[in-house]
Symmetry: C2
Subunit: 417 residues, 2 copies
Amino acid sequence: MDLHIDGARLLRRLDELALIAPITGPNGERGNARLALTDEDRAGRDLVVSWMRDLGLDVSVDGIGNVIAVMTGHPGVAPVMTGSHIDTVATGGRFDGNLGVLAGLEVIESVIEAGIKLERPLAVGFFTDEEGARFAPDMLGSLVYAGGLGLEEALDIVSIDGARLGDELEKIGYQGGAPCPGPAPHAFVELHIEQGPVLEIEGFRLGAVTGVQGISWTRVTLSGQSNHAGTTPMQMRRDPAAAMIRMGAALQEIVADVGSPQVGTIGSIELKPNLINVVPARATFTVDVRHTDERTLRDVERRLRVEMERIAAEHGVELSTESLARFEPVVFDERVVSLVERAAIERDLSVMRLPSGAGHDAQMMARLCPTAMIFTPSRGGVSHNPAEHTDDDDLVAGCQVLADVMLALTVNAWMEE
Amino acid sequence: MDLHIDGARLLRRLDELALIAPITGPNGERGNARLALTDEDRAGRDLVVSWMRDLGLDVSVDGIGNVIAVMTGHPGVAPVMTGSHIDTVATGGRFDGNLGVLAGLEVIESVIEAGIKLERPLAVGFFTDEEGARFAPDMLGSLVYAGGLGLEEALDIVSIDGARLGDELEKIGYQGGAPCPGPAPHAFVELHIEQGPVLEIEGFRLGAVTGVQGISWTRVTLSGQSNHAGTTPMQMRRDPAAAMIRMGAALQEIVADVGSPQVGTIGSIELKPNLINVVPARATFTVDVRHTDERTLRDVERRLRVEMERIAAEHGVELSTESLARFEPVVFDERVVSLVERAAIERDLSVMRLPSGAGHDAQMMARLCPTAMIFTPSRGGVSHNPAEHTDDDDLVAGCQVLADVMLALTVNAWMEE
């Protein structure tokens, strides 16, 4: 079953979809702004659905607006599925999500053109509100598909602009009758840009994604005593900014000690009153730590907690923490990851195993069936930005490996490995 | 020359002045909002000037609005002068500045009442815009009086609300004809609340102020690369917040190494874009370091600079710094400091030598004549706040020692010590 996808056709479709709700970056880069369930999102959906119908696929829309197109001719047989999303953030690039959907379409069209008969149908879908930029949480559509969130609860979510999700879904005509949760595919594999710098810096064409990092987000508030920065001797201070600095240094030490793939970030800091000559009364900051292994992540959280309590006591400041998000790591199916790796090697494409630092629809689908992902390089690691870029060769290579993996998954042999 | 001041009269005047432009703190504390050269400031000035005139003093107003009242009868003899300011910050307390002016008035009234004949006249003044809360820089009036800033330049300063200083001065009727710079007094001594916690914590009734700390204010800007907090491995980051944390830790180490009275504060931090899951592109923060010794202060600045350059290089971030203020330390006259110390001891008041961490008009007057200050304790070190408090006993004790010191300064014997 040697199938060659049509790279030029994939690139044309990527270009055409990018014409809907275009935005321009500071250096003329072409990006998109298609926030979930807006008129722009509807226009994007309509275009992709028209392509699905042109191929004679069986298109269904479920109660949360996920759209899935399946090859006909295999009633009752679970498909090998791919897909991603076509909603973007407000300052989105052209590839994030869109690549995975249009590559899936390309794989199916190539199979149909080649007249290949499969034991299982292929399917491609796009999930509602993956970005979470308009309706929280992110990966909403795939979460509902996988049964992680009830449909009614999801429809009642209110957007950042005050609109109810269910109303917006109805307004754009994408509240369908297919059931939520949806049926489990035979297997799921998603092609996506990396959105990070690893493949580029390490010099690999493709990534075989082993899973998604667990995420722990905490907001830390330190309350001390506001004082005059000139008249208050150091030993008489209860300075929350000084304590925050030492906690940040402790985080850096813990992260360095655990080593890769542990990451830790302090991305947000607010001091009150935030004046040059006043010892602050309060410091609020966020801690983002991620690891692929749940036990390691818990250990990092515990070590940081111990350090923060010790430092708060030493500085005489009051410590309070609030968990803003906590997701356990997702481990993809080793058999599917191996298929990705081997398919790349057979196409003479250098490939590296790596975890995903960002969340993806595939992590929700992993609850339902054997799942993995394929990453293409992101220039400079840039994403959620019109400057987001992947070379054409890499886009096409990713699509070709997606095709090879999907075909391999239609034959049950992979399940025994 | 044993003179007893009238403590009750001092407290009454403090209460009466506090009725002009009163504000209330969260726990009902009484404070004041008399920003420089506003109608509120004028009302305060008018009241104090009426008291000066009631005592038959020779009241003069100079070109920048400083008001000085001198005892009559000693034409051509330089007075022993005291004074402070009656302008406040927007959230001011009742004692900051006001105490020094009204205590000076009380000393003079007591001398007049007691019929004491002095070799030199006494004088009390209040200087324009000490706080700098409306017109920068602070200690503006005394700076112009001492010749540190030209009158015309000062009159052209524009306030935070867009008004020209000269116009505002004229509007409230306090642009006078006395010359700037002003004549040098024989000696100057200022009574002020500490505005810090040292006297209270160390258990002393009074402070003999040895000088004013030198101040170095720097704004530091670190530019790095904004990145996804999940997908960007630690070793591929150029994280300005991480570099800022290490620079803050370096500052803490240097300050601890130098030891008291070195202080160092990071009071203001801004990250961009300041989001939980984004490695910041930029971190801006301020560094406030102060020491009483200029060589030590320079050494601290140099050591911090070396550390910041090393850390910036290690983190791959661009470092730029801007000096926002730099004042050399002021050392008060040892003879006047000793007089303060002895006067307190003779009144059975515990007294401690300490430097001032805040700026005061006395540091400008120190350019013109032998100068020192007397501090009273500030409860909890709180100042620039309606909760600012000094016990009545301490206010009265400070005024008594001010009287004793001023009288001693009228006799030339102190100059030989």
